[in-house]
Point group: C2
Chain length 328, copies 2
């Protein structure tokens, strides 16, 4: 069996309370005592039992990252990146992380009830009732890559608007005036933001952005390819296409290749997300870079702030960047 606090107490000749203190607040015991305790602990291979600790303190120092997506969760590179970042950031803290999919959010809410989880980061299309349920149970909530107006919780999002602006203005700078957007029906928040931003930026520059300039598709390459084929077969085809994400842009690239259009000479393409896809295609895809790492970090930091009773801004917008590559 593992050594307990009693064993250390006995071996070091101090009370269990002192042993406890030595591990929780080393500065609150005399140097000599501390040393004795640590020595004994070393000999016994003792380390405090987190379960017992949680039991006594009535808190677990555990937080959860809940990915609110139907099917693919961690499989979505975007969320995988955020998740990775959250993992790394949490490891640096003294809290533990539980990763779950929305599929069992009810379960998480349940375990949360027993204070097994003290805070959650909700990624993706979290529903209002989830948030209410968590908050009702005194569980801190932070939204990542989503917003929820009317709720009192911190959100951390990427600057979708700014990202779109970077993409479109880059194309304009390259001399394009006839720019189309191809948007997949993915996350409502995301697609809405990017679409609106596109219209706005185009208008700002006095460029037309009517029906002819926007193609909708399902969130698959095949669908994007089809949509792009239709768009590009027309006489008055655009000279540049902005994909609302890299998958959409990859579809455009495929369509161009099939139609014998040279990229970027005949057609410039820009994607969004700066995912692995960008490097895999030929030519490589110019894309808007989302700082997933930062999003994850800020998400964790916000949650910690909440948990520590500190305040944090209601919404943090993480700047986006542009990675210019061969496709434009």
């Amino acid at each position: 069996m593992n050594a307990t606090i009693y064993d250390v107490s006995r071996l070091s000749g101090v009370s269990i309370a002192t042993v406890s203190r030595t591990f929780a607040n080393p500065e609150r015991v005399r140097d000599a005592t501390r040393q004795k305790v640590f020595e004994a602990a070393e000999i016994l291979h003792y380390s405090p039992n987190a379960i017992a600790r949680a039991m006594a303190r009535q808190q677990t120092d555990k937080i959860a990252f809940l990915i609110c997506k139907k099917d693919a969760t961690i499989l979505d590179e975007f969320y995988a990146r955020i998740c990775e970042s959250i993992m790394r950031r949490t490891i640096q803290s003294d809290r533990q992380l539980v990763i779950s999919t929305a599929a069992d959010w009810v379960q998480v809410a349940g375990t949360a009830q027993n204070k097994q989880v003290e805070g959650v980061i909700l990624g993706g299309s979290a529903q209002a009732d989830m948030v209410s349920e968590f908050q009702g149970k005194q569980i801190a909530v932070v939204l990542v890559n989503n917003r929820m107006p009317g709720f009192d919780l911190p959100c951390v999002v990427s600057d979708e608007y700014g990202g779109v602006r970077l993409a479109v203005e880059h194309l304009i700078q390259r001399g394009h005036r006839d720019i189309a957007m191809i948007a997949g029906r993915f996350s409502p928040y995301i697609v809405g933001e990017r679409y609106n931003a596109f219209l706005q930026v185009m208008e700002e520059h006095g460029l037309e952005a009517g029906a002819r300039h926007v193609a909708m598709c399902d969130p698959t390459v095949e669908s994007a390819t089809q949509a792009a084929l239709e768009l590009l077969k027309r006489k008055d085809r655009p000279t540049a296409v902005f994909g609302a994400n890299d998958v959409a842009a990859a579809g455009v690239l495929k369509a161009a290749l099939r139609l014998g259009l040279k990229v970027p000479e005949d057609l410039a393409v820009v994607g969004f997300d700066d995912s692995t896809i960008c490097g895999m295609v030929e030519p490589e895809l110019t894309s808007v870079h989302i700082d997933c790492r930062r999003i994850g970090e800020v998400g964790v930091d916000c949650l910690h702030a909440l948990l520590n009773g500190e305040t944090c801004p209601p919404v943090t917008v993480i700047p986006a960047g542009l990675r210019v590559r061969g496709s434009s």
Copy 2:
């Protein structure tokens, strides 16, 4: 505060021991009693506190998935798939899952010490000392996508050999005789398996597989592209290339495109992993499909078997498949 077992005891008029039994072994209390207890619990919104339960039982029903990779962990689509599968399978059981990266395996081992984790699934290039450490602490270990001869632990791997055979024989069937392989320096176990299998299958079919037929590269598209360019620029270039993974194959595709070679007419390409990449490139990439879902499931099942004191096969080989697409 949340209701405790005492509240339920009081309201239902039975002892806490009976309440405890009602939740742990419902069949061991009289029907009428059970009903009373559940009713009271319902009214009080009671649910057993897992922490206290773990404390009393001296076990947590928690397992961990540890991804043993330096940098990218969950970012690697392959591991993301396995991870996703493990998550889903674990949810179905009554155990909880903790996901960690190798970066903090020492930490996991530490927490494991306090019986916070009772079993681990090691993915990727786990080291022998990790396994020893875990097993030394009475923690069940299962290896996923790796083997460790000389250790007494279940391994679940994909049929690398069979996968390579599918790929190569498919090319042979398409009439190719001059087949090259391009291998990236990724996981030693994987690259070794696939490389050896390639040589063997080629030999079986009486095909030459000398130095001219194998190109090594770093595990990036750029490197693969360079290697492929060199390979394909030669007069006696192969008519088909087998990439040890999809990234390598994508590099070949890019090289072909740059050299103006038509795929699959001038050059057939086959990848390995059947990742998202396959659909993103033009033409789409034929690839060996690894059943990550199954690997994850079997991994979890093996661990559960171990934890339940049951036996399970020392090594489970999951069959691979071939997804034929445009590139061949």
